[in-house]
């Protein structure tokens, strides 16, 4: 089965019909509450020093949707992205990824689901400094057990698509900020995921480079569920819908 099954089942030959047929839900958050401070996760007793990052957050993202998350620092944008990608298990509520409740999965299962279905783009790129651009892009495929020749071919194809065909052997330290973020986008895309989460993807870039990266993200986000957290108006402007957060609550879901 392709990872990108949802897109394949919903995208028909006739583009206009996709507007009429409702896409299935790729991500659903239902009454999600999360508190930082103690051990994290469920089943712990209350603690005065805990910080509530999310309060009863519910919304969903359909395949092909570009959803922006806006709100001031500390409003819970990143926490939502971490919960959707399975890096964090919320204290309460359910996070469904392709109809699988991540909160009911083991660590190992969440890791596998993340590898297969979620691509993450970080604000600070987070490339491995001692690996080449190609090796960084191919990184998720190593764990997937893909043979080296196929990994390289796949990584080179994606690097060419993001305009870095001539930079495949460069280390991250030899690339500009915009180029590094393009490598990070190629890495997020390498397993052909159904959902892409991007946390301030243009936050470290100048305006022109940020626009280029955003265009690229919109291009690859087409037909996938894309969640973008940002403070930046121009970044949020490309979203189909913007969910606004304040103090961990959804104050507007853009609907």
């Amino acid at each position: 089965m392709s990872n990108h099954a949802l897109r394949q089942t919903t995208a028909s030959d006739d583009d206009s019909s996709t507007d009429d047929v409702e896409s299935p839900t790729a991500v659903r958050l239902e009454s999600v509450t999360h508190e930082y401070g103690a051990n994290g996760g469920r089943g712990r007793s209350g603690d005065d020093r805990t910080v509530t990052a999310l309060r009863n957050v519910s919304f969903d993202v359909r395949a092909g949707d570009i959803v922006g998350l806006e709100g001031p620092s500390g409003s819970g944008k990143s926490t939502i992205l971490h919960a959707v990608s399975g890096l964090l298990v919320p204290s309460d509520g359910a996070v469904e990824l392709l109809d699988t409740d991540l909160t009911a999965c083991s660590n190992r299962e969440r890791t596998r689901l993340r590898r297969r279905h979620v691509g993450i783009v970080f604000q600070r790129f987070h490339l491995l400094p001692s690996l080449s651009a190609r090796a960084n892009v191919a990184l998720p495929l190593v764990q997937a057990g893909i043979p080296r020749a196929k990994r390289r071919e796949r990584a080179e194809t994606l690097l060419e698509k993001v305009g870095l065909g001539d930079r495949i052997h460069h280390l991250p330290g030899e690339l500009s900020g915009g180029e590094r973020q393009r490598v990070a986008i190629a890495r997020a895309l390498v397993t052909d995921p159904d959902v892409i989460v991007a946390d301030e993807p243009t936050g470290e870039l100048d305006t022109a480079t940020g626009e280029d990266v955003l265009d690229l993200l919109m291009d690859i986000g087409r037909d996938r569920a894309l969640l973008v957290a940002s403070h930046d108006e121009s970044t949020l402007a490309v979203a189909d819908r913007v969910v606004t957060l304040r103090d961990g609550r959804v104050v507007s879901d853009g609907g």
């Binding site: 089965m1 392709s2 990872n3 990108h4 394949q8 990143s78 971490h82 990608s85 890096l87 964090l88 660590n107 190992r108 890791t111 596998r112 993340r114 590898r115 297969r116 993450i120 970080f122 600070r124 987070h126 490339l127 491995l128 400094p129 001692s130 690996l131 080449s132 090796a135 990184l139 998720p140 495929l141 190593v142 764990q143 997937a144 057990g145 893909i146 043979p147 080296r148 990994r151 796949r154 194809t157 698509k161 280390l171 330290g173 890495r187 895309l189 390498v190 397993t191 052909d192 291009d219 690859i220 087409r222």
Partner: protein, 426 residues
């Protein structure tokens, strides 16, 4: 992005491919960090392990030297043939034991074998010598040998001060010209009050009544290589001693020494002397360590200290490396590497760094043994005190591997405590 549809990463590949990939990542990361980003941490780990292993190799080499005798033995021959039931030289005043017959001919035959460099019968006889101006003949242990043009050690003395060959033997007729040369040990020179180029006369009962006493010239006075500074020993040409002692009739010798490839020498010795005892005189037999208390204690101490220091270095530096690497581990988790894979990368990286250090350490250690020998030769010891043996290589690698395994839990614990949200959220 049409090509994306053709790619299916959900169908996980083989476990073997994954493991090869994980090891590959570990190797490439280490290599790039060393060569391109010049990580001082990797260099520090490799250097610390290398120094520890080098020290271990040197100390174990010294222990092997102590145990096996090595170059501080009374001969540097590889194989020794002695009569059965007699494994040692007879003492100065000891009762004469059984001897080997036809020694000259058979040694000649052994010498012509492949991979045998040289073979010489050795005859040991106490002989009275007197120097000019000294009326009292003194007994010296003469060691008869057939020297060749290579520097060799017999009876603790170097043979290269004697003319190569044994002309007096003359194919068994014992009527060739006498060389009349003598290499004295310092103890013998002291007893005879002789110096280099002094003439000495054979006295006592060895000289036939109707013959004039033969004279010999001291060509050199040497320090005994076996550290024995009390026994007066002197080297002479074999046939001249055989003639003097009456051993020429049956070409008698106490032993035959063979230099060259040990297996070839043993084979040739067995062909010529099927009933004699053939002893490999390889001074670097590692099993000898267990028979020598001091050497065993030294090597055991080196082993324990080596593992302890090496493991401490590896644990500390690898732990610090992992602390530096927490963001990398967090990224690996974010892109879908489960804990087992992440910890495997840490473990493989730690072991690879340790083994790289061990390889450098072996090279340094072997160099160190040569340096120790050079230093010892120049100062206190008559020859090499430490030996290089091939077993030092797997031994050092095994010690490094054990050290790495002992050290691994610490970096793994540091890695396991890494919080992905703390790292990628920064």
């Amino acid at each position: 992005m049409e090509a994306d549809d053709e790619f299916d990463a959900a169908r996980d590949g083989s476990r073997r491919t994954r493991w090869r990939g994980l090891v590959g990542i570990s190797v490439v990361r280490l290599w790039k960090r060393t060569v391109r980003t010049r990580s001082s941490r990797v260099v520090a780990t490799v250097g610390a392990v290398a120094l520890t292993i080098a020290l271990l190799v040197v100390v174990t080499g010294v222990a092997l030297g102590l145990a096996g005798g090595g170059a501080v033995d009374d001969t540097d021959a590889d194989v020794q043939i002695v009569p059965e039931e007699s494994g040692a030289l007879s003492a100065v005043d000891g009762v004469e034991g059984p001897r080997l017959g036809d020694a000259n001919e058979r040694a000649e035959s052994i010498r012509s074998s492949d991979d045998v460099d040289h073979a010489s019968p050795v005859l040991v006889e106490p002989v009275k010598l007197e120097s000019a101006g000294d009326d009292e003949p003194k007994t010296v242990l003469l060691v008869g040998v057939v020297p060749d043009d290579e520097p060799r050690t017999v009876g603790g003395l170097p043979t290269d001060a004697l003319e190569p060959g044994d002309p007096h033997y003359a194919n068994g007729s014992y009527d060739g010209p006498r060389e009349g040369e003598l290499v004295l040990s310092e103890a013998a020179a002291e007893r005879l009050e002789a110096e280099t180029d002094d003439e000495l006369t054979v006295g006592g009962s060895q000289v036939p009544e109707n013959a004039s006493a033969p004279t010999v010239t001291a060509t050199a006075v040497e320090e005994a290589g076996d550290g024995d500074d009390e026994t007066p020993v002197a080297l002479v040409h074999l046939s001249e001693l055989q003639t003097l002692s009456g051993a020429d009739n049956d070409q008698l010798a106490d032993q035959v020494l063979i230099w060259g490839d040990t297996d070839a020498a043993e084979s040739a010795a067995a062909d010529e002397y099927p009933d004699a005892a053939i002893e490999s005189h390889d001074g670097t037999d590692p099993s000898a360590l267990f028979g020598d208390g001091l050497a065993f204690a030294t090597s055991l101490l080196a082993f324990v200290v080596g593992i302890a220091i090496c493991a401490s270095f590896v644990a500390t530096t690898a732990g610090m490396t992992v602390t530096e690497d927490r963001r990398t581990l967090a990224v690996l988790e974010a892109v879908g590497y489960p804990a087992r894979s992440r910890l495997s990368i840490v473990a493989v990286s730690t072991l690879l760094t340790t083994l790289a250090g061990a390889l450098v350490g072996i090279v340094l250690g072997v160099g160190g043994i040569y340096a120790v020998n050079a230093l010892a030769s120049a100062t206190v010891a008559p020859g090499a005190v430490a030996v290089v043996h091939p077993i030092l290589v797997p031994y050092a690698l095994a010690v490094a591997l054990v050290s790495g395994l002992v050290a691994i839990p610490y970096p793994l614990a540091v890695a396991a405590r890494t919080s992905v949200l703390e790292e990628v959220g920064r």
